[in-house]
Amino acid sequence: MRPVYLDNNATTRVDPKVVNAMLPFFTEQFGNASSMHAFGSEVGAALKKARGQLQALLGTEFDHEIVYTASGTESDNTALLSALETQPGRDEIVTSTVEHPAVLALCQWLQKNRGIKVYYTPVDSRGRLDVDAYRKALGPKTAIASIMWANNETGTIFPIEQLADLAHDHGALFHTDAVQAVGKVPIDLKTSEIDMLSLSGHKLHAPKGIGALYVRRGVRLRPLLRGGHQERGRRAGTENAPGIIGLGVAAELALEHMHDEQTRVAALRNRLEKGLLQRIGHAFVTGDAENRLPNTANIAFEFIEGEGILLLLNKEGIACSSGSACTSGSLEPSHVLRAMKVPYTAAHGAIRFSFSRDNTDEDVDQVLSVMPGVVEKLRELSPFWKAGEKTSFEPTYA
């Protein structure tokens, strides 16, 4: 049985070309880029090239606009904390209810421990941001508005340019967590109002442990990590040379495959989605179907629970993920599905299929052949399911 990996929003396979580019920098060109000898200088040159490759993917004008970090989370934390530190008179943040925990948990902490006022912009039932509420939340005290480019669970894309514009109306910085968008949608930062943008290597076929923060020229940045002079003193710590070089090659490959991602991968996703909805009743797509990442499908199956679905799919060699409570160890369905007010009958059974350029038609065929049986098996077990009708389930506590 050929395994089917459809969890690319969680992480991607490192492209073998990326690995090959990285390998010499472990055992041969292992020098510290800061060193005054050949070992150092050859690494320095490779890092410069890698920075250029990432610049091309992001469409940035200046090489110093990229600050390498260790993760998307580090980039997000750096951006928000720096915005507060560099603008002492501004102590408010505007974000959304559906951000990644890297932003959300930090905001909650700042609220509780630093007295920062945080506005969480709501979304509608299709995951679309309430732009009016966002506009109203902005004000002269707003230090930074931070809205993700695309949601990791539903793939819904937010109107980032418009949101950045609105933030600038109030003199506030605009940051976007673009971890899910970079490599999947075209980005051209030199023509953009965005001040800061976070990305993570392992979401675009580079390894884990490398991320970056774009900081628009002229935007002040206070480092999160202090120490050496690396990254012009904006992020101390010896450069992760293999990671940076791997991210460079991954960025180049992402540009090459951008068209494929937008067309072939999107078609795979659409075929899976249509096929599942045709074969399985009481199921629906969550998120904004019109405006979303080409690779993501989030489908809620009513009256069953996600973990059971994942376990049965895993048995058939299919890997995907769920917004259900049980898989994460938390007791509630994901904050994204709750923010969208997906009914409880379905929120626990929401499954995310996320594709990459590695996926094929056979992958879709396999899921389409397996999934109806999986759903049926669990519905047979469910006290809420009776051929599509709700049964009279009367719990003694609820």
Partner: protein, 307 residues
């Protein structure tokens, strides 16, 4: 990925007694779809003997919820009502070879469904039972009685455990103080009844203070084994102790090898730079201390001349 036991997987992939029991005379429903798990337990009880002749279940929930439900039916079939009521959620977890701590509430749900189904069979209204305690956790519909039972049966002593076993406080957290109160009270009662060591009992004041580690006085040379050792075991330990020391001896150009073990006398031969070294007696003393620590019995290390 949860670390489920093979038995949990087996009972999830091929659940026994799943489905509707048409002629059930005791039905217990617990949980709700909004809570993320729910279980209907159906029993067929012989009215003459009170023996559970058949049991089936329907469950909405994760893998361990389905496995726990199925396990429960397997455990109770053939038992009398009285016998079944003696079971606890721990019996379900044990039957499955254990559940991850975060999933213990699945076994509690099975236990609660059993009580509900038996009450239904007897014609009691299960709700009466629930009037004993107030509804604590509104998000998951957990009342005081359920929390208290879970604490007593499983000897829970932390808030985290209470959440893992009952889900209470797992969502909006507004009931944390109430649940904390129940945990404090029940633990205190358990201590008074001699069911719980007072040092383990939950103390909300203490939970904020960093706890010191128990400082067990341990020798860096290792601790002594307790059991009586055979001669071969003693020799192996002595040899490995000497092996550990050898790099230090070699660093000074010396070496040491075991010649014989005779009761509490360990005969060794020093070689290389150790021979004639003024510090040789210190080295011998060091070896002796190390062997005593390893073996846990007094002994003497005696150098014997080489060749």
């Amino acid at each position: 990925m949860w670390d489920y036991t093979d038995k949990v997987k087996e009972y999830f992939y091929n659940p026994k007694n799943a489905g509707v029991l048409e002629d059930a005379n005791g039905v217990g429903d617990v949980g709700a779809i909004s809570c993320g798990d729910a279980l209907r337990l159906m029993l067929k009880v012989d009215p003459e003997t009170d023996i559970i002749l058949a049991a089936k279940f329907q469950t909405f929930g994760c893998g361990s919820a389905i496995a726990s439900s199925s396990a429960l039916t397997e455990i109770i079939i053939g038992k009398t009502i009285a016998h079944a009521l003696e079971l606890t959620n721990q019996d379900i977890a044990d039957f499955l070879g254990g559940l991850p701590p975060e999933k213990m509430h699945c076994s509690v749900m099975g236990y609660e469904a059993l009580r509900a189904a038996i009450a239904n069979y007897k014609g009691d209204t299960w709700a009466d039972d629930h009037e004993e305690g107030a509804l604590l956790c509104k998000c998951f519909g957990v009342d005081e009685g359920m929390v208290e039972r879970a604490i007593r049966v499983n000897k829970l002593t932390s808030m985290e455990q209470v959440t893992h076993f009952t889900k209470a406080t797992g969502s909006c957290s507004t009931c944390v103080e109430d649940v904390e109160g129940v945990l404090t009270r029940v633990n205190a009662e358990m201590v008074a009844a001699g069911d719980l060591d007072s040092a383990l009992a939950y103390n909300p004041a203490r939970s904020a203070i960093p706890q010191r580690r128990d400082k067990v006085k341990s020798s860096p040379l290792g601790t002594a084994p307790k059991k009586e050792l055979t001669l071969l075991q003693r020799i192996r330990i002595i040899e490995s102790a000497i092996e550990d020391l050898r790099p230090y001896l070699k660093a000074d150009g010396g070496d040491c090898e075991l010649v014989d073990v005779d009761g509490d006398r360990v005969l060794v031969k020093l070689s290389g730079a150790c021979v004639g070294c003024q510090a040789a007696s210190v080295t011998i003393g060091g070896i002796q201390d190390r062997l005593i620590a390893k073996l846990g019995t007094p002994l003497r290390v005696i150098p014997v001349p080489g060749h």
